[in-house]
């Protein structure tokens, strides 16, 4: 891209914190031409998410999702990972910072360590594992968790027998065990400077230490555990291998209680904010626990169910209906152990005030999130201001920007949030940094130079097989010599040898030399899993001039030696089979060409509200032309009717500044009163015709079609002049400068048109709107009465402060139940509102001068048509369905399409802005490439075999098969992701997936059942 030689900005970025948010930002930036320094305090990337078992509301395994991201970040040429590291000092300014990084000694040389784990096996010192939350042990030389990245052990100097002994003469068992000589007891750590153009802070949050509240029993009663401990208990790779059992006696608990808001929403010895995630994770934990053991009877004790996210309410309904989870609204005052049984007696006040004692087998404390203990020092190091709560100071309209130019924040550090919001902010902050440093893009990144590929067409297979010992990991179970001998006889095998560590640098060189010396044209390495090592070995053979698809990895460690310890004969037999299967496939391998397609570096944004404009500006600031298409005659969308946000920031002022910025931006073209008429193309190469006749070519699309407010039909709306919506009240308050009279009374009803059929979801914004307006009324006239009838007050995260402020100002809150909704009648000049008060256990009546309805959100009516045009799915509520609820919150399954704003789900303005920046960041990744590489592993379509039965067209999740002009099926390989569902379903076998062709799979099957004598058994 623009390589200005005289640019003063640096094309590199420092990211502090390697959890999911930091990694997302790192990957987006590194993929779009920036060098990233990723500083992580722990010995591995991963953060909080790696400790989780499953994630809500889909029940996906957390590790399965994050592990590929860690591997990708760990292998990325333009991401430099500094683990066990912290930033000591920052100098300079936006565009050019000098950062001092201090690395603690690891005592294991990462250049030599292959991650085999032989040292850990020999280490005699066991200590409680931090990762397992003290529920299981680890060694003094350890890996934080099995999938750790970098896959390098570290020695814990406080517990190592050798390092705690001044003579360093004791033990040394790990040193003896390490065949790679990677152990270095003399390691001193290091300090060094890096120069970067911008800084992103994503250190995450700590968890509240519930031992501060001894009455709840954590640390006192063994069967009281924290929620993060319970995550580890649930985890199949955790200390109890996924068996739900009590720490005290390993008994399977039946009655399990969750106590919500431990450390949250409480000023005494705890934090005043809401931690945002606990209601959902407790629901998830109760569901998963029940799935693990159907005898479990979960009860969740809560104050308010704050399940405000996309599809969250449905999840709670499912928990109640399908899993029998009991939700008990109550504050628990104390937990004590029943002597002799280990059971726990909980004392709580039921909603009607009666005190109840109930006994449980196990209690889980849903602990909240809080800034790390050193949060103030951390902020000081980077020169940023913090709030009273030690969170970084940001603004509603720019949630990623700190008080210091060029220093950004992302993830939970900015405020408690869940994984999708964290990932969204990660991409969003990347988008902001791309815009800031756009002129320096590509100035500091490196590209791997590879020798020209040797043409092997027409050559008979000459397969080289390298069988790895992995120290003793494989060789202690599998007889390597026998494998080598057995494979030698296979046809096509030209060379077989063994190697101690195939992945170590010296052996990589040996493999490259052997390819040349033996004129090998295919390589099989028998070692570990392709999921972590395939790319490494593919690069190795590329460096020796072979096409990377002439490689196969036979997994004889994870899937053989590690599972069949002690069964050496059977394991060796299996290893031979696995290698023969790989050889059988390898014989049929062909070099594959990775095609590339050009990219039109411009972006189409559909929708000109805050989401569309924010995305457009963030893409345009990166230097790419942007076209905004807005249906209405003017820009602004729904925000035109919004005046203030909860913290008082002026929305209209912000909106006008955005509209002005859009109109004056040289890279932005606005088409108002216009819609998309026709669209065609694929990632990097879209062609769109608008209803005004304009024809646009562009490389990416952002769908920001927005939402509309629900227009109520209930509660006398439109029948009584005194019944208005929150938005109408807001207009009176902030636009009309309404001064409420001293005797005036306002009754507000929440969840109008939300959280009940046919719209069984939370609209997320209405509680904030009600509180914002209630505060404004009270501040203008403290004597005016404001009563809010609510189901659950969902002022999540740091918004909780305003709930407290409203209560302090004298706003009344009365809960109602969906089965007993308020009844509204007109009585002369008043609106009479009757509701049931569950606290007083009696009916209440209010004479209201104004009845204010908190109406929910709906997707914009155009969502369906736009969705159909771009073949993106909508969920049952009509909102766009993203590619992955957790890790791809702004992507669609089809590449090059992104989503932002209310079209995705209801959300607050700051969240819309974060998501819009994320869409811009994700689009920037594509647009910054001159060419996009298409993977070699794609489906190939043979038109001469195809009968155009359309089976493939129906099943392909990516829309790559299409009906061509001649009326028959063709296949767009650029869209293909190589899943092979088309190949599975095609009755004519017109589709074959490269490297997973049917002949290759059949050859593997044959090799799997062939006996050693060559006879099929």
């Amino acid at each position: 891209m623009s390589l200005l030689a005289n640019s003063t900005k640096r094309g590199s970025v420092l990211i502090v914190g390697g959890g999911i948010g930091g990694m997302q930002a790192a990957l987006d930036l590194a993929e779009s031409g920036f060098l990233v320094h990723l500083v992580q305090r722990d010995p591995s990337l991963g953060g909080t998410m790696v400790m989780l078992d499953k994630t809500f509301p889909t029940g996906d395994c957390a590790m399965c999702m994050i592990s590929p991201k860690m591997v990708e970040a760990g292998r990325h040429l333009n991401i430099k990972i500094h683990t066990l590291a912290q930033v000591a000092a920052v100098e300079g300014e936006e565009g050019d910072f000098t950062v001092r990084i201090k690395m603690a000694p690891r005592y294991v040389d990462p250049d030599k360590c292959t991650g085999c784990g032989d040292c850990e096996a020999k280490c005699p010192k066991k200590v409680p594992s931090e990762f397992e939350q003290q529920l299981g042990p680890r060694k003094a030389v350890f890996s934080l968790f099995p999938q750790a990245v970098p896959n390098t052990r570290a020695i814990d100097s406080k517990n190592c027998l050798c390092l705690t002994d001044p003579q360093k003469k004791r033990c040394r068992l790990c040193e003896k065990a390490c065949k790679a000589n990677a152990i270095n007891y003399e390691d001193q750590g290091k300090e060094f400077d890096v120069h970067v153009g911008a800084i992103i802070l994503s250190p995450g949050l700590d968890r509240y230490d519930a031992r501060v509240r001894p009455e709840l029993g954590l640390g006192r009663w063994p069967n009281v555990v924290s929620s993060i401990q319970f995550e580890r208990i649930l985890s199949a790779s955790g200390p109890y291998k996924g068996v739900v059992q009590r720490p005290s006696d390993q008994k399977h608990p039946v009655k399990v209680a969750w106590i919500q808001c431990v450390g949250s929403r409480d000023n005494r010895n705890a934090n005043p904010w809401c931690s945002s995630v606990c209601c959902m994770y407790a629901t998830k934990q109760s569901i998963i626990a029940k799935e693990h053991d159907k005898h479990i009877e979960p009860t969740i004790f809560y104050m308010e169910m704050r399940t405000f996210g996309k599809d969250f309410d449905k999840y709670v309904e499912r928990a109640k209906r399908d899993y029998g989870v009991r939700y008990q609204r109550a504050m628990v005052s104390a937990v004590r152990e029943e002597p002799g049984t280990g059971n726990l007696v909980m004392r709580y006040a039921a909603e009607d005030g009666t005190l109840v004692n109930e006994t449980f087998d196990m209690v889980v404390l849903s602990v909240g999130l809080q800034p790390h203990a050193d949060a103030l020092d951390f902020a000081k190091t980077f020169g940023i201001e913090t709030t009273d709560y030690r969170f970084p100071r940001t603004t509603h309209f720019n949630p990623a920007k700190t008080t210091r130019q060029g220093v950004f924040v992302t993830g939970t550090y900015q405020g408690p949030k869940d994984i999708p919001d964290t990932v969204m902010q990660g991409s969003g902050v990347a988008g902001s940094v791309m815009a800031l440093l756009s002129e320096a893009r590509g100035t500091e990144t490196t590209k791997k130079e590879l020798p020209p590929e040797r043409d092997v067409t027409g050559e008979a297979p000459r397969i080289g097989v390298f069988v790895c010992h992995c120290g003793t990991n494989i060789s202690s179970t599998v007889e390597i010599d026998q494998v080598v001998e057995a494979v030698k006889k296979e046809s096509g095998v030209a060379y077989v040898t063994n190697t101690i560590y195939a992945c170590a640098q010296d052996n990589q060189d040996m493999i490259k030399q052997t390819i040349k010396d033996q004129k090998l044209n295919r390589v099989v390495i028998a070692s570990c899993t392709p999921r972590t090592h395939e790319k490494l070995f593919q690069e190795t053979i590329q460096e020796a001039g072979l096409n990377k698809y002439l490689f196969d990895l036979a997994d004889i460690r994870e899937q053989c030696s590690w599972c069949h310890k002690g069964q050496n004969e059977a394991a060796t037999k299996k290893a031979i089979k696995i290698v023969k299967m790989a050889v059988a496939k390898s014989r049929l391998q062909e070099p594959l060409k990775s095609e590339t397609v050009g990219v039109t570096p411009s972006c189409l944004v559909i929708g000109g509200g805050i989401a569309g404009m924010t995305s457009a500006l963030a893409v345009a600031d990166q230097g790419f032309p942007v076209y905004i298409v807005e249906k209405d005659a003017e820009l602004g969308g729904l925000a035109r009717n919004v005046y203030r946000v909860l913290d008082g920031s002026d929305v209209q002022e912000f909106l006008l500044s955005r509209i002005a910025a859009v109109h004056s931006h040289p890279n932005i073209t606005v088409h108002t009163g216009t819609e998309v008429k026709n669209t065609d193309g694929f990632v990097g190469n879209f062609k769109t015709i608008l209803t005004n006749g304009s024809e646009i070519t562009h490389g990416a699309i952002i769908l920001a079609t927005g939402g509309v407010e629900y227009e109520p039909t209930e509660y006398l709306y439109k029948q009584s002049q005194q019944v208005i919506t929150q938005r109408e009240l807001e207009k009176k308050l902030f636009d009309g400068n309404l001064a409420p009279g001293p005797e005036e009374s306002y009754v507000m009803i929440q969840c109008v048109g939300s959280r009940e059929e046919p719209s069984q979801y939370c609209s997320r914004i209405c509680c904030q709107d009600a509180i914002k307006n209630a505060i404004a009324i009270k501040e203008r006239n403290p004597k005016a009465a404001v009563i809010i009838l609510y189901r659950d007050l969902r002022t999540y995260g740091l918004r909780e402060d305003f709930y407290k402020k409203a209560r302090d100002l004298g706003v009344f809150f009365v809960r109602y139940d969906v089965d007993r909704k308020p009844v509204v009648e007109q009585a002369g000049g008043k609106v009479l509102v009757t509701t049931w008060d569950y606290m007083l256990d009696r009916e209440l009546q209010f004479d209201a001068d104004w009845l204010v309805l908190s109406t929910g959100l709906r997707p914009h009516p155009s969502t369906d048509a736009v969705g159909a045009m771009y073949k993106v799915t909508r969920n049952p509520d009509g909102y766009y369905l993203e590619a992955h609820v957790k890790l791809r919150p702004v992507d669609f399954p089809s590449e090059g399409l992104f989503v932002a704003g209310l079209g995705h789900a209801p959300k607050n303005l700051d969240e819309t802005i974060a998501q819009s920046l994320a869409a811009a960041g994700r689009a920037g990744v594509i647009l910054s490439h001159e060419k996009l590489a298409v993977s070699g592993i794609i489906a190939k379509h043979k038109r001469e075999l195809c009968m155009s039965c359309l089976s493939c067209l129906r099943v392909c999740p990516f829309g790559s098969p299409y009906i061509a002009e001649d009326g028959k099926i063709s296949h767009n390989e650029v869209k293909c992701m190589g899943c092979g569902i088309c190949a599975g379903i095609c009755p004519a076998k017109a589709f074959q997936v490269n490297n997973f062709r049917d002949d290759q799979i059949l050859a593997m099957i044959d090799a799997a059942v062939e006996s050693e004598s060559g006879v099929i058994n």
Binding site: M63, C64, S67, P146, Q147, A236, S237, K241, T529, P530, R531, D555, R557, E558, Q559, C560, W562, C563, H564, K565, Q567, A570, A571, K573, K574, K577, I578, M581, I937, V955, G978, C979, G980, I981, A983, G984, I985, V993, F996, D998, I1001, L1002, M1004, I1005, D1006, A1008, V1009, I1016, N1017
Partner: protein, 92 residues
Amino acid sequence: MADVAEETAETLRSTPHSIIEKPHETPAAWEPNVLAFACHYCAFAAADLAGVMRLSYSPSVKIIRLPCTGKLDHIHVLRAFEQGVDGIFVAG
């Protein structure tokens, strides 16, 4: 469909018992030869994790990696059974 089922039942009824293969007695130390087809993204990863956790299962289970279990074809299953595999495990 119902017709097909009836036809099959009828064929079985009319076939002399002598030519229907009797179920085999399972020898004591017999281990079924199982072939697993695993999706690269989930089940194959799970098999890796089983190894990482040192969980033990029969060494007669061998795994073939697919890009997605949607790629599995009838012919793969038929060929495996034809070659004498005792069981097939599709996981994804």
